[in-house]
């Protein structure tokens, strides 16, 4: 991406942060909180998710059979099934249905699939008037805009904006103002459209193949009306909506509304087997026509889906139930909405899979980088789709399709990877940050002075898109590994514990935040462990986050090869950086052979540092009194945190406020840190914001600096809130620490720096 287009992206995002952002943020956060509460209330929520996913996996595997089955069933019921190859094919069919019905008007309920094929334009071209009946979708239609959210299409509009839109368009005697008045007005207007319509068009949330039944889920009741009022009903659904039977709907009925809106169930969940038996109300003639006159068409859209089915990495996208939970749970989405974080049709984390699958890879390129891989959506998704992985894969494919640009030669010297020549320089730079770090440490402190020089920051911004407003990491002359090699072990003679531990020298702990590595070694030694810090390659998180899968795989292979040797000799592995731990636990399975014994031998024995301390203390009676509690008062955060933490002396420790890392939460590791700190006597408060906003390199990029800071604003609010304002900010992730440093005046520290033994 050129610096030009990076500026354009930044400008577009800046604009949306001001316009759509505030409305999206309020609603997406509310929906997300609703989802969290509604799913927490379900006893066997995880089992439900597994059941739902299993149904989808089987259905997609058997899709061709299900298509045959549903065709037979619908035809036996008296309807027709049409499998449309692409958008044009689907539109042509819908046009022909309307022509056969002599249709002047069509009423529609909200459907993303019909957005995908742009059927409204196709029908308008054929002289048919189309009315959206979902109120949000109607607003979007009036405004001639695109949906900003797959569930709440007009989420980006405030009540005031909607009121002016309606008042301008309809000029009512009394200008509309309240939500109730606007709703009543539009209901009446659309009610008339429904009564006079010749064709009703709906989507389908699910289609049960064996009976030809379809599930329609709405709160307004418009889909019910569109399906049963006009004589002709056309349902347009992606072919992936097929499941075998009505019984298979069960987990979805339980999950969908909870995931989407935090409701236990939506107002209306219809299970219709069209053509339905409801008599046809003819409001003009004031008579009911017999249901036998009903005409029903099920259009199943392929448009790339059958190819996605064959695509190992994109296939999961087809399990998507379009609930929008990945959007609502996403910190970046909350700030910018679907007009930035979305393609031609779909928005949010899963949109990358959809857009790439239906032929919109270019559209995916526009917004794909807004996924930072934080993985919060993985827990939010009711069918457990690995959305970050889909984003990574598509990023990798886009990288490989790119052309070489102006600064390539300059950056190539710094980086050596397996990636294509046209790879975006920003991506190549951040993806090879291990080499940058090695040089940085070797040349420190000169490298740090140079990096901060104005002209160099200018070059970095122009060529690499590294935002000048960010402080750069300060490289340590003596790396963590060098420090470890140059000292004599201080393992205390503790007989009750005989653990041998590899502390993994991740990139940042080794070159930048060396103090947390040292604190880890001292802590583990105090608890009786024998600790080594061997040379191990960096995890590959950096290249992976830039979509450089091949490079990341090289890293993964090297890391597992080294660590598995230690594990074979009886070592446990302790990881300081949570994003690297997540890499081992989640992404390595994707990069390496998931059956690999070496990998599972390593992951079985790998722990986050505070998780490991927790295990030593609670299960192996390690001498916890050797660690530092609030009353022991060893002091300050030191150079690791770059300043003085507000750590106090005995009796007056202000407590800590802990911000857990996104991936740490996904891996359920927040609790261990809190438990250890509390056992040592710290008063612990925690934050509950989705994400700090930094997300590795994301916050450094000129295109995204402002989104990153806007996301961080919520964290700043919590860290500086009453009751937290005097607490020591504590975070485990490098990115979180960097972001907190730029958000608030207090210097944050890693939890292991708080607890490390004082006698060092």
């Amino acid at each position: 991406m050129s610096s030009e287009s990076r500026r354009e992206t930044a400008a577009k995002i800046r604009h949306l942060l001001d316009t759509d952002g505030p409305n999206i943020e309020a609603q997406a956060r509310e929906l997300n909180a609703g989802r969290v509460d509604a799913t927490a209330a379900v006893e066997d929520y995880e089992a439900l998710r597994s059941a739902a996913r299993a149904i989808k996996e089987d259905a997609i595997a058997n899709l061709p059979d299900l298509v045959d089955t549903v065709r037979d069933a619908v035809e036996a019921n008296g309807g027709r099934v049409y499998v449309a190859e692409d958008a044009a094919d689907a539109n042509q069919y819908v046009q022909s249905v309307c022509a056969d019905a002599d249709a002047e008007t069509v009423v529609k309920s909200k459907s993303m699939t019909t957005e995908e094929i742009e059927v409204n334009d196709a029908l308008a071209a054929a002289g048919v008037d189309v009315y959206e009946t979902d109120l949000g979708e109607f607003v979007i239609q009036l405004a001639e805009e695109s949906p900003s959210h797959i569930v709440g299409p007009a989420m980006h509009k405030s009540r005031e904006e909607i009121a002016s839109l309606l008042n301008e368009r309809f000029d009512p005697e009394e200008p509309l103002e309240s939500a109730a008045d606007m709703t009543a007005f539009v209901r009446d207007y659309l009610g008339e459209r429904v009564r006079e319509a010749d064709v009703g068009m709906t989507g389908a949330n699910f289609v049960a193949a064996e009976s030809g039944s379809m599930a329609l889920v709405t709160n307004e009741g418009n889909a019910r009306k569109c399906a049963v009022t006009p004589e002709t009903h056309v349902a347009v659904a992606g072919v992936e909506k097929l499941v075998p039977t009505v019984a298979d709907l069960e987990p979805f009925v339980q999950l969908l509304s909870r995931a989407a809106t935090g409701q236990a169930i939506s107002q209306y969940v219809s299970v219709l087997t069209p053509p339905v038996d409801t008599p046809i109300p003819d409001f003009d003639a004031d008579a009911f026509h017999p249901a036998a006159d009903r005409d029903f068409h099920l259009v199943l859209l392929d448009n790339g889906r059958l190819d996605m089915r064959e695509d190992e990495d994109l296939r999961e996208t087809l399990y998507c139930v379009r609930c929008g939970a990945c959007s609502n749970s996403c910190a970046n989405f909350q700030q910018v909405g679907g007009h930035a974080f979305g393609g031609d049709t779909y928005s949010g984390g899963i949109a990358t899979g959809w857009e790439a699958g239906i032929g919109g890879e270019d559209a995916a390129a526009e917004f794909n980088d807004l996924c930072t891989g934080c993985s919060r959506c993985v827990d939010a998704c009711p069918v457990k789709i690995d959305i970050p992985w889909i984003n990574t894969v598509v990023r990798d494919r886009l990288n490989r399709g790119a052309d070489a640009g102006e600064f390539d030669a300059l950056v190539e010297g710094l980086t050596q990877d397996d990636e294509p020549a046209g790879l975006d320089l920003q991506k190549r730079f951040f993806g090879n940050v291990d080499r940058v770090a090695r040089l940085g440490s070797a040349l420190a402190p000169v490298s740090n002075w140079l990096a901060d020089l104005g002209p160099n920051r200018w070059f970095m911004e122009r060529a690499l898109g590294v935002d000048r407003r960010r402080d750069l990491p300060e490289f340590r002359r003596e790396t963590f590994r060098e420090w470890a090699a140059n000292r004599t072990s201080a393992t205390a003679a503790v007989e009750s514990v005989d653990s041998r531990v590899v502390v993994y020298p991740d990139l940042y702990t080794n070159h930048v935040r060396t103090e947390r590595g040292k604190a880890t070694v001292r802590t583990l030694e105090a608890l009786g462990c024998e600790v080594v810090v061997p040379p191990v390659r960096s995890s590959g998180r950096a290249p992976l986050s830039q979509g450089m899968i091949r490079t990341a795989t090289d890293h993964a292979e090297a890391v597992v090869a080294t660590l598995s040797e230690y594990v074979a000799e009886g070592y446990d592995v302790v990881v300081v950086e949570p994003s690297d731990l997540a890499m081992f636990e989640r992404e390595y399975e994707r990069l390496l052979d998931s059956e690999s014994d070496a990998l599972s031998s390593v992951t079985d024995r790998t722990y986050e540092v505070l998780e490991y301390v927790y295990g030593l203390v609670t299960q192996r009676d390690a001498p916890v009194d050797r660690l530092t509690g609030p009353g022991d008062g060893h002091a300050e955060a030191g150079p690791d945190a770059g300043g003085t933490a507000a750590g106090g002396r005995s009796g007056d420790h202000p407590g800590v406020v802990y911000h857990s890392h996104c991936q740490q939460r996904t891996l359920d590791l927040e609790a261990h840190t809190v438990a250890v700190l509390e056992q040592l006597g710290y008063d612990v408060a925690t934050t509950d914001v989705e994400c700090c906003g930094m997300a590795g390199s994301f916050g450094y990029k000129t295109d995204y600096y402002e989104v990153s800071m806007d996301v961080g604003e919520q964290l700043r609010g919590q860290l500086d809130a009453d009751g937290n304002r005097d607490r020591v900010p504590v975070a485990s992730g490098t990115s979180c620490l960097e972001q907190i440093e730029s958000l608030i005046a207090r210097r944050p520290t890693h939890p292991v720096r708080l607890i490390e033994p004082g006698d060092r």
Binding site: Q27, N77, L135, G136, V139, G152, K157, S158, R159, E160, I162, A179, A180, M182, T183, A184, V186, R187, G191, V194, R195, A208, S211, S213, N219, E220, G221, N222, R224, K225, V228, T229, T245, V246, A247, L249, E250, V253, Q254, A264, I265, Q267, Y268, V269, S270, V271, L272, T273, P274, V276, D277, T278, P279, P281, D282, F283, D286, A287, F288, A291
Partner: protein, 189 residues
């Protein structure tokens, strides 16, 4: 009536409260009067023969045209099931036009047998799946009033009814039973 059915019934009434649905529990012979109390005329309806001999009150038209449907203030239907977990009623979409009657007027009055209240969505879905297997069947789980938040705040009463009332016909009910009493208070409030 078994103990568990009784528990479901209490849970059902709580869930109706939660969903903003008013309700009244009556003996079979009191159903017609209970419907009559809940109806605002003009009203249209479909037969509510959930229990032998239960008929629609005189003010509810069963023979109606589309314009009557449009101008009716209340639509009365039976419900095949009540779902205790969610406060939903399962309304059939049949040749009797119950889908339209439960959808077009601003008030929907649903009559359900206490014995037809099931504990949760899985039980209801299992029942529904068996119905569908048995033939061409269409139903809607309706839970509370139709609603939208698309206009900037939550508003009830969009394309469907703005008010829902459920009459539970409990052949084993004790009139002094606290649940029934509470329901009556809600209705009158």
């Amino acid at each position: 009536m078994s103990e568990s059915t009784r528990d479901h019934l209490d849970a059902f009434r709580d869930a109706l409260d939660e969903a903003g649905v008013t309700h009244e529990t009556v003996h079979g012979d009191g159903a017609t009067a209970a419907v009559d109390r809940a109806v605002e005329e003009p009203a249209v309806g479909v037969p509510i023969d959930v229990v032998d001999g239960v008929e629609l009150p005189a003010g509810v038209a069963t023979d109606f045209a589309p314009t009557d449907l449009r101008s009716a203030r209340t639509g009365v239907t039976r419900a095949a099931l009540g779902v205790a977990e969610t406060g939903s009623v399962l309304v059939e979409s049949s040749e009797r036009a119950d889908e339209l009657v439960s959808l077009y007027p601003e008030r929907h009055v649903a009559v359900v047998r206490a014995a037809d209240v099931v504990p949760d969505v899985p039980a209801a879905t299992a029942w529904l799946a068996a119905e569908v297997d048995a033939g061409r069947e269409s139903y809607v789980f309706a839970t509370g009033a139709s609603a939208t938040a698309d206009m900037g705040a939550l508003v009830e009463g969009v394309h469907g009814p703005s008010h829902v009332h459920v009459v539970v016909v409990d052949e084993g009910a004790d009139a002094s039973e606290p649940g029934a009493q509470r329901a009556r208070e809600v209705t009158e409030a």
